[in-house]
Symmetry: C2
Subunit: 480 residues, 2 copies
């Protein structure tokens, strides 16, 4: 098959282009301050520069990389920028990138132990390391999924299985022997929990959102009352999702009290600590996961605040057997002869599984636990500094406590009390800040109040960046 | 925060180590023939070499990479090896690896258009390129998920939503207004379809497996009869999953006839073409997806047979609105102001989404459509050669047609007719081949017959590798 159409880049070309790409990456990360954080584009601006049809013949890698620089890069929102403060600020650190490079090259699928023993065993070991770093009990066993939404779905599948062993077999539809199912979370819970309920056939009506208190924590009395009321009305309460570090304000639900209720009512306790859980690595912040040792399942995302490139979510459960009971299906072509090995395909929806533990292993080793603690502490310190500046500025108000590294506030000049007017002003401030390309912010609403969020979690972010951001926000606010 | 604990690898160190890793990757791929395909290990062999606890202090990247070579590499099953023929043989090609390197460095989350316009728009464009390469209609709109199992789950969620608009809201549990739901697939369908049914609350009982014919294709008369019977028994038939390239034997279900039934019975037609669909890129093999233009949803996996590193699955649907109706949930913190943009978070379970279109773009451009066709053709040619050799060897028998690049057969010496005995012999052959480290095979069962599978799909595989494999198999068979 020697003909002009069989082009395939050989290892020597990969060596050459790989080094070019590494140079590009190093330069990019060195100069990250110089990029506009948010590209000021209109929808379609990137698309219209790309050909409508695929190329018939092989294109040279130089041309492709040039197009990457010319077309793709100007449409990137730079999550690496030290003034990216939207959603959650993250870092795909250097050791994590190196780990991803090797995972991509090895290209193994970690579905079975035998499809790469190292992938399975490293996943077990590195998740146990993380468990120890968090101070969770040794009966918590972990699996890596791609994201918190997937982890929440898998955990709630197990919770559903736990209430009735035959859901897996019989399903939920058309059954008179299973009542309507209820799961509880607060009105601050991440939308992926409701999405999981939709997928699982529990439905949005099956999710009862308990009101949050003034600090955006689940109101325990309201939870208790809701469960009582639902039982009387014929619902079957089966799970509670508590959050450690809600997406809007990073509030921390009172997990110990929720665990008491779950124990009393035989409900599954799932803790969504996707962002906040990582803080428990810091000794003086270990309290954030108080009570989580009593959870049935627990998720935290190394790709959020543990310097690991997207995607890497760590899901733990004390009931691996229930989880596997919900998911395990072994067709003939996947039976194995090693006896009792751990086949991670049994732990969730996905059969195809990237070798994600490698990057997490690289990150934990290269930073060391002390290094990780130092950086997490610094992020919280920076958030505290910003919160201090805000609280001392009369025309601004903090809208939530700052237990972790996200600051929620708004500009609230004297004399304006109309919420709609305040929303217009504050969304204008965000838009105007973002339009400068110097920083990128996102918003939320807290009990109806439009809120500016500043998330801090990038390793490149220093006090200077936070000071600059604060000056920029004040300058944009002064225009109102 | 200048202290010894704040180690963070800077861009210059990343440059140095990145180039070391690139050299490692190039050497690894150059020497891939020299590695044992399957590591002969016992469970726990890797684990016991890893420390029980994470390091307190930062470890040098050189030491980490040394441990990667010393501990991890010997436990890798080499999916890159040209004689890896288990499951599906895949290639994470050089341009794909380069794309992954850049994705990891950019570390963007493609959940919203605004979280990286390029990620969303390139995903749209490159999936439309692939659609054109497959010859599917222009109303097929795509989304990238991590794997076929996830794509099947998302597609069947949409199918469930389509039958009853209020499933999303009301769920399935405890409802007297929704009958038991049935979906149909063949007894050859991938286990992820049954897993999706479990997750969706349809249950294993809700999956009716239609018998396959002698060529392992879904029996149309049996499907028709099953639907009729189920309707009489009060089931609600809502979806059929047809497969183009089943996992066991790569059989191709009669999609046009299935589409007729789906149309008549108002059922959603989902086509799982995770592996086989890619073949439609080859003009003379376009027929494999005959009828798929009438599907409601269709999945094919570039990480299987399109030279793209794991993970990358392309899900298409003609009913993006239904799919989004099943999934879209927009909390306050994710509302955007751009008007009508495509936010891929609305297309499925996952909120966190890697920038996966980049590697697929690199692959399609660097190979060119003609290059891809040449390689796919060559894989099918190699499978044909092996099938020819097998059919001419009296003591071997082919167990299935070879429409694509997987060959199913067994050693069947004269005088042995006991299935259990044949299973022992053939599983012994596989084990003994795998123990040499020279090739890696997996098995399946076809209508009760234990089957050796040889999957071909690696770009490094040549006729010489297939010839060597065949000699090895014959040698191991001769020991019985």
């Amino acid at each position: 098959m020697e003909n002009k159409n069989n082009h395939r880049m050989d290892p020597e070309e990969l060596r050459t282009y790989g080094k070019k790409v590494v140079d590009w990456i190093a330069d990019y990360l060195k100069d990250i301050d110089k990029y506009p954080v948010y590209p000021n584009l209109k929808p379609g601006d990137i698309r219209k520069q790309l050909p409508d049809s695929p190329p018939v013949s092989s294109e040279n890698m130089d041309a492709i990389l040039e197009d990457f620089n010319r077309i793709i890069l100007p449409g990137i929102t730079h999550w690496n920028h030290p003034n990216f403060h939207a959603y959650f600020s993250i870092t795909g650190s250097a050791p994590g990138i190196l780990g991803e490079m090797l995972s991509s090259a090895l290209n193994v699928n970690g579905m079975l132990w035998r499809t790469s023993p190292s992938a399975t065993e490293l996943e077990e070991v590195v998740l146990d390391w993380l468990r120890q770093m968090l101070g969770l009990p040794s009966d918590f066993k972990g699996v890596i999924t791609d994201c918190g939404s997937a982890s929440n779905l898998v955990a709630l599948s197990a919770a559903r299985e736990a209430i009735h062993k035959r859901v897996r077999e019989k399903g939920l539809a058309g059954r008179s022997d299973i009542p309507k199912l209820r799961l509880y979370c607060s009105d601050q819970t991440h939308s992926s929990v409701e999405k999981a309920a939709i997928v699982l056939g529990i439905g949005q009506d099956g999710v009862r959102k308990i009101r949050s208190d003034r600090e955006y924590k689940m109101d325990i009395a309201a939870l208790s009352a809701a469960v009582e009321e639902d039982k009387k009305d014929g619902w079957l309460p089966f799970a509670v999702v508590a959050t450690v570090g809600t997406t809007s304000s990073t509030s921390i639900d009172p997990v110990p009290a929720i665990a008491d209720i779950c124990q009393r009512e035989h409900m599954w306790l799932h803790v969504d600590a996707a962002y906040g859980g990582i803080a428990a690595i810091v000794p003086e912040m270990r309290y954030v996961i108080n009570g989580c040792d009593r959870a049935d399942s627990f998720v935290t995302n190394p790709h959020k605040w543990l310097f690991t490139p997207i995607d890497c979510s760590a899901l733990y459960t004390r009931h691996a057997d229930t989880l596997k009971q919900a998911f395990s299906l072994v067709p003939d072509y996947l039976t194995t002869s090693e006896g009792t090995v751990n086949n991670y395909m049994d732990w969730g929806v996905q059969l195809g599984r990237r070798f994600r533990s490698l990057k997490l292993w690289f990150v934990i080793r290269n930073f060391g636990v002390d290094g990780i603690i130092t950086h997490l502490r610094e992020h919280c310190r920076l958030a505290g500094i910003l919160a201090g500046w805000i609280s001392r500025e009369k025309s601004f108000e903090l809208l939530a406590p700052v237990p972790l590294s996200v600051v929620c506030f708004r500009f609230h000049p004297e004399g304006i009390s109309d919420e709609l007017k305040l929303e217009q002003i504050n969304s204008g401030i965000i838009d105007n800040v973002n339009a400068t390309g110097k920083a990128f912010l996102s918003h939320t609403k807290l009990h109806g109040k439009y809120t500016i969020r500043v998330a801090i979690g990038n390793l490149a972010t220093t006090e200077r960046h936070i000071a600059g951001l604060w000056e920029l926000i004040k300058a944009k606010a002064a225009e109102y």
